[in-house]
Structures are given as C-alpha cells and as structure tokens.
Amino acid sequence: MIPFTYAMIALAGVIPIVLYRFVRGPSIPDRVVALEALVSIVMALLVLNSYIQGSSVYIDAALVLSIFGFISTVAIAKYLVRGDLFA
C-alpha cells in the first residue's frame, strides 16, 4: 500500500513553519508568500485525501483552491503596486 497517510501527516507538520512566517511578517509580500505556500499545502492535503478515498470529490476542491490562490495573489500584487484594483 502506498503511504499516502504518512505523507499527509508529514505535510501537516510543515504548516506551523509556514504559519510562523505568516504571523511574523515583516512585510506584506512576506505574508502573501506564506499564504500561497499554505494554500499549496492544503491543496496537497486535499489531493492526498482524494487518493486515499479513491473519490474525485476532494480533488475538485483542490482545483478550485488552486485557481483562487492564483487569482488572489495576482490581485494582491496589483493592489500593492497601483493602490487600486480596477484603475
């Protein structure tokens, strides 16, 4: 049996390190990078859960999460440069 469960446990151990950077900062892009890494970890957890159960329900959530992560990062970057989103 492929050890998907152990991989999930190991990835859960990565989350506190990323959260430390998210809380600590010091600048806004730091927090955005940490959030992006967190999104990718949660995405991997959803994918692994989907593999364990053999159902394609959770992997849809991972797809949507990846799209939202990209769009939110682009929006924050644009907001930081221009000071306005739809200018």
Binding site: I2, I17, E36, V47, S55, I59, S66, L80
Partner: protein, 129 residues
Amino acid sequence: MLDGLREIIATAFLIVGVFFYFSGALGLLRFPDVYNRIHAATKTSTIGVVAILLSGVVALGIQPVSVKAVVIILFLLLTYPVAGHLLARAAYRTGVVLTDRTLRDEYGPALELEEIEEVEDGPEEKEGA
C-alpha cells in the same frame, strides 16, 4: 510484478514531494529577504504539488481522479511562476529593502530609466492627441 513497480515509483514521487515541501518551508523560515523567500516558496511548492499529484497518477492509473490531477498539474505549471514574478515585482516597487548581502541589483537602475522615459514621453503624447 508491474503493481510492485508502480507502488515503488508512486512512493518515490511521494517522498520527493514531501522533501521539497520541507525544504521550501525551511527556506521560508531561514532566508534573509523577501525575494529569497519568494524564490524558495514558489519553486518548491510547484515541484512538491506536481510530484504528489504524479504519485497518485502513477498509483491509480487512468481514472477520473488522475485526469483531474493532470489538469491541476498543467494549471499549476502555468500559474505558479507568474504569481511569484508578480509578487517579487510588487515587493520591489513598494520599496521592500534587499538584504545587506545582495551583490548586484539590476532591477533598480532599469526601473529608474523606465520612469525617466515615462516622464519624457508623457507631454508629447498629449500634444499629439
């Protein structure tokens, strides 16, 4: 026989993915600069997610799950570098300082040149219109 080989390859992909996640988190924790942290986080996240998705594709064969996994891989390979680039650009343009150990900064002079050209070009365009 073939199933055993499949399990070995899938487990190897899984180990690679988890290792890259750990190294990315380490870079996020220890690197001195926003730009270094962006570099660490985006590259390792890309390889980590792709490796974990590929392990499932190898393990499960052709199924609805693995087709969706391939779609996610393509999307991530397109979008992660773009997001990292935009974030680094936004960080530089909002004036986040570089670390003391930076050897060369080529983007700063290029950015100044661009701003000077924009100021010079501005009035001419208005006269033309």
